[in-house]
Every structure is written in structure tokens, then in C-alpha cells.
Symmetry: C2
Subunit: 457 residues, 2 copies
């Protein structure tokens, strides 16, 4: 008999995972390798190590090892903000009048405001261990940049952040958080890099994109001694680090005998979703259990639902490796949608392969509907959610409302990746009734997809 479930299930700090779980080990169809854009051949460890830290390259390329030990230094830092709670959304259930049981894993109780810190601290640790001076990166909504700034401050590393211009302008306060942690923040595209200058010349007045900021950060890293580039999403290594989310979620729910029927996460590059589903998807891949798993993306940037499964550049500047993924084309620059973290044209190769193989579903939701859900959630549950996370809230509420019709008491688990404290410009638009939706036309998408690189795969 399951014990009565509290509002918040907190694990003990000793229950923080001691190992990360590598989904790839259980995948029959492994994610396709990254390709060198020059040769069209799989990227070697040697080639990657000019861009990434050595230990991270190993993690990136390893499709077989199921568990990686989490270094003690990283676990110590995890203890300062983890384990994060699994919350039973009793108040939301009441307001929706649904028989469904709704749970969310809340990753926002730290100053970065999101789950991004889980990988930032790992990547900073390996950079430090390798004796580097610093790291460069891009950030969209600013969560990743903030997380990396915090991690670099902790380990005493230099931190250079290229921030998507639209977010830099909409979220000036994020910049100050990063600066408080000692980071150097540049709006992207910038004139600091040749790729930035080229993009500015071609698209003057562009509000930027993650893909474009990535190009700049990579160029900055490879052209400075003692620096490497780090990325907050998409990569296999990031999903590996983020597996702590899912491992903790399962440990917490198992204690109360709760088996999810549906697991829902927002998906930009895939770091949250890949982390959230890790333990459950592992069971599904091994045939031990079955779950409905739903990726939620913005209708304005619908990689899964309207993109193509093909090799493409991870960045707009076309200097990064090619990844086989669901993509809208690396030249696709989404509208100035407020969910900055979901404005990426591509998707994790792991999640792309799983989606392609039918292990998960995907839905696209519109911005105003997302904010309606966010407002309802905030009033019921107290937490003001990030726009990104609110995509998952929208989908979870929709599933809970279906349960109301059918009378089913399903267990719905979603990832509340972060808080919206730096997204108040978007909330202001919503509160003023001036928020709009944007759905790209087929022609918009065709333009982006027509420029995919030609690669066998």
C-alpha cells in the first residue's frame, strides 16, 4: 500500500544519483554520429577535442557505457541545490476538476532558474580538471548562460557568453546576474567574430537565434588558447548529465508506488526532456515497462512536428559539425517567440532517433495558449513558470482535461524546468492582451529545409 503522498517529495542528499545514466546504451538504433562538415565523415575524438573538453568528448562518443560515475566534486555542488522536489499538483488538479494525478519535477529552485545547472557544473568541472583558462558558450533565454556563470564562478574559470540578441534585450536582468557571477556577456550576432559580422551583413536587424550564437561562441573558443566551447543542450553529454532529473524523479515516485502513465517535457534542444525521461525511457527501451512520452514544442519552432529527420548543421553559421536530427534547417530563424530556450532549429540526435523509432510522441502548442496555462498554473500552484516550462504545463493540462472527460485517474508527470522571473516582458504582453501567435507557413519552412546540406545518411 502506497503511503499518502505529500505536496513535495524531497529525497535525502544521499539519494542524489552517484552515476549518470546513458540512454544510448539501451538504444537498438544508436543516434547517428556527428559528421565533420568538411569531409562528411564521422567526427573523431581528435577533431572534437579542439572544440570540447577531453572528458566530455569521451562522454559524447560513448554509445555503450550505461552508467558514468559522477565525480565527487560535482556531487558536492549538486548537494547545494539538489535533490529537486517532485511536486504533487493537488491545487491544479482541484481547479481542473480532473481525476488525473498530476506531478511535476521542479528544477527551478536555484539561481540559474532552471535545470541547466546540472550540466553546467559538470562541464565546468571537466574544463577545470583539464587545466583550461575558460569556456565560451551561447545562451538563449539566459538560463544556460546563468548556470554556466555560476559554475565557472565556483571553479574559478573565465566565462564568455554570447546571448541571443532578442533575449539580451528582453532580459537585461539576466545579463546582470551573469555579470554578478563574473561572466562576460555579448549580444549575438556581434561584431566580435567573423561569423557574427557575416550574419549581421546578410540579415541586418536580425534578433538572433541560438544557432547563430553557437557559431560565434565556437569561433571564439577555437581562436583563443586555453578555451573550449561548451553547450547547454542538444549534445549527448548534456543529456547524460541531465539524467539526474529522471533518475531522481523515478526514485521519488517509486517510494510512493506511483507509475507514470504519461511523461511530458518541453523540447528545445532536448536537454530537459532527455533528462526527465531517462530512467523511464530506459525501461521502455529494455522492454521492462511502457509509458506514453510526449515532447512539447512551440508552434513557432516545430522541429519534431514539422521538421525533417536529416543531417544538418547545429549552427546558423554552418561551422559546427553536422548532426542527424529533426531540423527546420540551420538557416531557419524563428520569430521573436518569447520562449527563448525553445528557439532552436534542431533537436538532440538521441531524441530525434527515439522519436523516429516511435518511442515518443510530439505536439506543438501556441504561445497564447501556453501563457493561459502558465497563469492558471501560477495561481493554483504558486510558482510562476518559465515560458519554456509552460509548454509542458499546457500539454499536461490538456491531458488532465481529457482524463476529466474519460474519468480516468491517470498519473501525469511533467518537467517544470524553471521559473519565469526573468520573463516578465512576455507576461506583461500577455497581461495586456497584446501577445500574438506565430505559426510559420509551409513556404517559410520549405525555405529553411531547402538549404539542408547534402550528406549520405
Amino acid at each position: 500500500m502506497a503511503r499518502e503522498i505529500p505536496y513535495k517529495i524531497y529525497l535525502d542528499e544521499s539519494e542524489i544519483p552517484t552515476q549518470w545514466y546513458n540512454l544510448r546504451a539501451d538504444m537498438k538504433n544508436k543516434p547517428a554520429p556527428l559528421l565533420n562538415p568538411g569531409t562528411g565523415k564521422p567526427l573523431t575524438a581528435e577533431e572534437m577535442s579542439g572544440i570540447f573538453c577531453e572528458e566530455l568528448v569521451k562522454q559524447e562518443l560513448d554509445n555503450d557505457t550505461a552508467y558514468f560515475d559522477i565525480p565527487e566534486e560535482i556531487r558536492e555542488y549538486y548537494k547545494t541545490y539538489r535533490p529537486s522536489p517532485v511536486v504533487r499538483a493537488y491545487n491544479l488538479e482541484k481547479i481542473l476538476d480532473t481525476p488525473a494525478h498530476i506531478y511535476y519535477k521542479f528544477e527551478g529552485n536555484n539561481t540559474s532558474g532552471s535545470h541547466k545547472l546540472n550540466s553546467a557544473i559538470a562541464q565546468a568541472y571537466y574544463a577545470k580538471k583539464q587545466g583550461l583558462k575558460g569556456v565560451t558558450t551561447e545562451t538563449g533565454a539566459g538560463q544556460w548562460g546563468t548556470a554556466l556563470s555560476m559554475a565557472c564562478a565556483y571553479f574559478g574559470l573565465d566565462c564568455k557568453v554570447y546571448m541571443v540578441k532578442v533575449s539580451y534585450e528582453q532580459k537585461p536582468f539576466r545579463r546582470e546576474v551573469m555579470r554578478t557571477y563574473g561572466a562576460d556577456v555579448t549580444p549575438s550576432p556581434s561584431d566580435k567574430t567573423s561569423v557574427g559580422r557575416k550574419i549581421l551583413a546578410e540579415f541586418p536587424g536580425t534578433t538572433g537565434s541560438l544557432g547563430c550564437a553557437i557559431s560565434e561562441a565556437v569561433e571564439d573558443a577555437v581562436s583563443h588558447e586555453g578555451y573550449r566551447y561548451v553547450l547547454g543542450s542538444v549534445l549527448n553529454q548534456v543529456l547524460l548529465h541531465q539524467s539526474v532529473i529522471g533518475l531522481e524523479t523515478k526514485t521519488a515516485l517509486d517510494k510512493y508506488g506511483v507509475k507514470p502513465d504519461i511523461i511530458i517535457g518541453c523540447a528545445g534542444g532536448g536537454s530537459n526532456l532527455g533528462g526527465l525521461i531517462s530512467a523511464y525511457m530506459g525501461q521502455k527501451l529494455r522492454g521492462e515497462a511502457d509509458y506514453r512520452i510526449i515532447a512539447v514544442e512551440p508552434a513557432s519552432c516545430p522541429s519534431f512536428t514539422r521538421g525533417k529527420f536529416a543531417y544538418d548543421f547545429c549552427d546558423t553559421g554552418m561551422i559546427c559539425p553536422l548532426a542527424k536530427m529533426y531540423t527546420l534547417g540551420s538557416s531557419f530563424i524563428p520569430s521573436a517567440n518569447h520562449a527563448g530556450g525553445l528557439r532552436f532549429h534542431g533537436m538532440s540526435t538521441i531524441l530525434s532517433q527515439l522519436y523516429h523509432d516511435g518511442y515518443m510522441e510530439a505536439v506543438a502548442v501556441e504561445q497564447t495558449e501556453v501563457f493561459k496555462a502558465a497563469e492558471q498554473f501560477a495561481r493554483a500552484e504558486g510558482i510562476l513558470p518559465a515560458p519554456e516550462s509552460s509548454h509542458a504545463i499546457r500539454a499536461a493540462m490538456d491531458e488532465a482535461l481529457k482524463c476529466k472527460e474519460t474519468g480516468e485517474a491517470k498519473n501525469i508527470v511533467f518537467g517544470l524546468t524553471g521559473t519565469g522571473y526573468f520573463d516578465l516582458k512576455a507576461y506583461e504582453q500577455f497581461n495586456n492582451g497584446t501577445m500574438t501567435d506565430y505559426i510559420p507557413t509551409d513556404e517559410d519552412l520549405a525555405a529553411g529545409l531547402s538549404r539542408l546540406p547534402e550528406v549520405a545518411g
Copy 2:
């Protein structure tokens, strides 16, 4: 033998206090009663009930009952964000290289960003129970207004907030959080009330003060049917509700056999400090144990350290009752110091009496030193602290550094009342090196103190 102490001590939700503790019951010298400004006589329950909710009036006037049951509806809401953790500041200790053991009770893990929610939910509950339409209030930094907006949204009450103009302008995003929770927010002084119009005429261009916003909110409440005024600090009832902070702190530390040597809290109106020290001060008053207790205030608004213990108006408009407290004079309008929540000219009557009777100490600290401590704390502990809370951090670090000199391993406990996510304008000034300090001259203070009302007491 004490167990090894984790980074975060989380209590179980069953360990949330079931009763609030009323410090007054153990005070030999009770706090002086509020006086009717017209008659100069102690305010009766009947007189107060035009302004405050009935149940809250009872709590306000009761100097004898030591414990009040927390209604189940309030405890249910507490479960959504409490118990809050007591954190061992291992990383800060390391950076300071101090033998001291530093602990902080962190009240910032909720969307109001502070401890204010503890009393907001209680006051909204009693308003709802009384069948009111809504409540009015003032807010300084915005934490209280946000907390009350959340509480009103939860219970379906109308919420009108008068926000100190300097904060309204420095923190536009706070306004949007409140609006997202359905509140009506007005910058104060405003032309919506006669007292606001009078202050605007007398001091055009004023940046406002808590005292002035209080006047407006009270006038608004008494001139509209079905409304009452609620206050986030200063009052006895608020300290009663905030006792959950101290009760939880003691429960958590007792589990690990930790007895504080020094307890430190920032003090604006006294809600946090009064709550934090509750259980320990109770022991001290009963002669069961001794602790050093330190109130920390900004040098720009030094009620304890440079004010006078006398009867004074709680508001600038001089329409509120008189309270016997440490005050700088109700006409004192502090400089646009960024620690908005500490910009009040007076102080809780309970804390004033305790300070007067020698049960606690007080120190005043300067803003730039406070932000230096805030930055160091953020980098070490990961949490970006509110400016208000950072006053306590400054004092705690100073005590820890003294321990480094003396080699004493003292237990220092301080209240981290909230996060600084809406204080980035202030951090920006600090990051840019343009932050200044302001210390009022003796003449500045004499002007405010010369206008104290003449009352026996």
C-alpha cells in the same frame, strides 16, 4: 552524538508547525499598545475592526496566549512551499576560511521570493473567512505585494496594492508578477487618495516611502465597503505568523544538536527578524537559554541604532494609529536606498521593547559593503540574495571573520529572507561601480524626530 550535517536540512511536511508562537506571552514588559491618534487612548478592538479583519484584531491585541492554532486551510497552503530549508553554508565558510559554522534559513524558494507569504496567506484566509470582497495594502520592494497577490488569487479575493514609487520604477517586473496573480497595482504616492494627493502637493517628485503607501492603502480600505487593510510587517499579528520561520529553524537545528551562538536577521519593520528569532527568544525570555541576537539595518534608515524609542505614527500621512517603537519620525523619507523592504521609519513594537530591554543588539551597515557580501555569498552559495537579506549576510560574514581571528567555532545562524531576482537594477549599479552609500546626518535625523507626536508613554 550529532549526525553529519547535510547542506540542506529539510523537514518533513508533517513537521510544519501546527501552532504559531506568540513571543509577547513570555515578555515581562509587554509591547506598548497602539494608541488612537485622536484620543491618545489605547485602540480598542472595535476601533481596529474598521481597518483590520476581526480575527487578526484578536491576534493583534492578545499579549497572553502563547500558542495559536494554525487553521488547516493555511497549513495546506504552507505545504506547497514549506518547510523551508536550513542550509549549512559550507562553501561560504571555506571561502572565508573561518572556523565558524554558518547556517541560514532560506525563505526565498517561492514565487513571492521571500518570507512574506507566511503572513500573506494567513491574512487572506481570515479576510475570506470574514466574507470580505478584498484587501488593500502597501508594498516596498514588492515582496509583500507579490505574496499578498498570490494569497488573494488562492482564496479568490480582490487585491489592491500601493507600491512605493521608487520600487515601482526600479522593479517594473514585480508589478507584472502581481498582475499575473490578478492584483491592481498603483505607484505611491498617487492621486487616488486624499492623503496621496496631499503628499504629492507637499513633496512633488518624492520617490515615496512605506509610511506613505500605508496611508494610501488604509484610506482606500476604510472608504470602500467590504475591504480591509492588511500589512506585511511591523504588526504583532505579522510577527505571530512569521514565527513559523523560527519554529522550523529550531526543529531543524535541534535534530543535529546545533545550538546557535549568534542569530542574525535584517530588520525593516521586523517581520523577518521577529519570526526568525521566535523560538530562541522565547527560551531567552523564559531564562532557559541564552543567545546573542543581532538586528541588522541599513545605515541609510537606522531606526534602532539612531532612532528614538517613542510613540509615533506608523504612516507618513499620520492617519494610522500611534505605536511605541524605535522610530526616525514618520516624516522621515529615506534616500532611494535599494533595499526597499528596509525603508521604513519605524519598527515592530515587540522588537522595539525587546531591544529597549536589552534582549538584542543592533548594527547598521552600508549599502556597498552589503552588496560586496551579496556578491561573495552568491558566488559561494549559488543563491543570488535580496538586498534586504544581504544586510544579514554582511553581519554574519563579519561575525564569521571575527571567529577567524579568535579561532572560535561559533554557530552563526542568519535569515536569508529572499532572492534578488527583481533587484538587478541595484546589482547593475554595483557591477558598474556606480553604487553609492548614504548616511543621514544628525541634522537630517533631528528634523524627522522633531515632529514626533506628543503622547504620554
